[in-house]
Amino acid sequence: MATNTDPESRNIAQRIDAWLDDDMSPRRALVVYLVLGLYFAFLLLPVVYMVLVSFTSQEFLFSSELLPSLGDLTLYNYEAVLSRGDFRTYFVNSMIVATSTTLLVLTVGILAGYSMSRFEYPGRGALLYAFLSTQMLPLVLILIPFYLLMNSLNLVDSLFGIIIAHAVIGIPLGTWLLKGYIDDIPESLDEAAKMDGCSHLSILRRVIVPLAMPGIAVSGFYTFILSWNDYLLVSMLSQTAATRTLPFGLQLFQAQNTVAWNLLIAAAVITMAPVILLFAVAQRWVVEGLASGGMKGN
């Protein structure tokens, strides 16, 4: 090694090494692009096509043309959908429900995750398993008793009831993810804060929460989409337009035998837009966090 003093030749050798290391010959790159192209055509073309169609006229939509011409493009569908007061209410309801559910799950999830990560007490492990096992329950099994319970608690047809119902679905995985992230924070930091006379609550606020931010982002995102996307629980608990959220509210455009496809598709785009935007913003943490969350439970 030491004898190799000629920088020129060494540079070339390194480049060849790196090239071999990468194994990225043009032919191989082409195959990779081809495979990725096929996957993403399958995954994204339907979405792109739906978005495109949402900007076209009803005449084009019901024609047997595959692609619209410039003259077919219009904002009419969005104007028609957004001009409906009930649809705007659903949108606001969705925002209220998903945001409140997320805050509720994060609050009780951080407390429970901190407790399960830092405290020793009888039943701790069993509790974590009990939390996680609720994920296995078929929702349809509990639907009726659940409805009767919510009815007796006066939580039917109220946004608060929907928030509680969604929180119940989000808490187990949220707690588990947060516990994993809190486990990764060195306990010496807690001890140091305790020496400085911090109470548990202020350790939580000043040490744990700031350091567990990536985990909080992941759990928060997961809870938000879970709540935003839910159909079954809302269809059960919401009985009037005042408590409907978007996924259930889409039935506004589907009558018994006729579907107003142009409006339905525009409304569907509006329904998915917030979660896709949120995902675009949170993507970095979420993709890594969701993936590594699975490994943390080890």
């Binding site: 495979v35 407390l111 078929p138």
Partner: protein, 304 residues
């Protein structure tokens, strides 16, 4: 001497008290989540299990007749139940294995360091984050007769066209395709993360031992993604097995019961036949099958 014992005693006391208070604080922090779960999900679950042994009508849920195991006996001779059970098992097995294989393939492609791979990676989860109802609307639109893009294409090729969710032989495969469409990116991203955490040196060493790409995949990659694979498979088997909305919203179990699964059958028993006890007993069967699967799978994985 006396003071020493006393001070030692008081130190023990302090340790004991702080242990006690720590325990109590631990309980205090975990209690809000526990109470919410116990009341809103624990109680209805127990109640659901209990209902499985009664004859109860949705129209009059107060009136309960204890029937013992009769609901389960009725299930054993119910052809629709057997069909729904078969569909559920078939859907779960096919959807999860295809998702896993395709997800593995996508992960391997995304792992390659081609320019622009990052863009593919960030686009990949779009289908997974959108609401199920929106996915169903997309698919139902695509297969509309006359104006759905799939049928327009088929028509231009001179092939038969119809509303494919209404076609007995096609509706079930279409539901599998929807599962794949939705979940493959999640498998891919999780498996990709597991692959990227494998130390590069192991591949270098294998290369020096002149192991080919396939051998490297078999002996280095596969063993080290097995834990994440297990998590993904257990998660998606339970998800697919109990899933209600994808089937219910796209076909409602039709045409002619061709896509009826256990979850939609429970729903129909309860809300269309008003037979709460019957519905609950199907739910109990689902729960038992899922627990059995999880236990067996995790045990097998441990043996490996």
């Amino acid at each position: 001497m006396a003071t020493q014992t006393e001070s030692r005693f008081s130190r023990y006391r302090e340790v004991f008290l702080s242990f006690l208070s720590d325990t109590w604080i631990g309980y205090a922090f975990v209690i809000p989540a526990t109470i919410i779960l116990a009341v809103i999900i624990g109680y209805p679950t127990l109640r659901g299990l209990y209902l499985a042994f009664f004859e109860v009508s949705l129209l009059n849920p107060e009136q309960m007749n204890f029937v013992g195991l009769e609901n389960f006996a009725a299930l054993a001779s119910d052809p629709i139940f057997k069909q729904a059970l078969w569909h559920t098992v078939l859907l779960t097995a096919l959807a999860v294995s295809l998702q896993y294989l395709l997800g593995l393939g996508l992960a391997l492609a995304l792992k390659e360091k081609v320019p622009g791979a990052g863009i593919f990676r960030s686009l990949s989860m779009v289908t997974w984050v959108m609401p199920v109802i929106v996915m169903v609307i997309i698919f139902r639109f695509m297969v509309q007769n006359g104006f759905g893009p799939i049928n327009i294409l088929l028509d231009s090729l001179g092939m038969p066209t119809t509303y494919w969710f209404g076609e007995p032989g096609v509706a079930f495969p279409l539901i599998i395709v929807m599962h794949i469409w939705r979940n493959v990116p999640f498998y891919a991203i999780s498996l990709l993360a597991a692959m990227q955490s494998i130390p590069k040196e192991q591949y270098e060493a294998a290369r020096l031992d002149s192991a080919g790409p396939l051998q490297r995949f078999r002996h280095i990659t596969l063993p080290q993604i097995s834990y994440v694979s297990m998590i993904m498979i257990v998660l998606h088997v339970t998800f697919t097995f109990k899933n209600f909305d994808i089937v219910y919203l796209s076909t409602g179990g039709g045409p002619l019961g061709n896509t009826e699964v256990l979850a939609t059958y429970v729903y129909k028993q309860a809300f269309e036949q008003y037979a709460l006890g019957m519905g609950a007993s199907i739910g109990v069967v689902m729960l038992i099958l899922m627990l059995a699967f999880t236990v067996i799978y995790v045990k097998l994985e441990e043996v490996d």
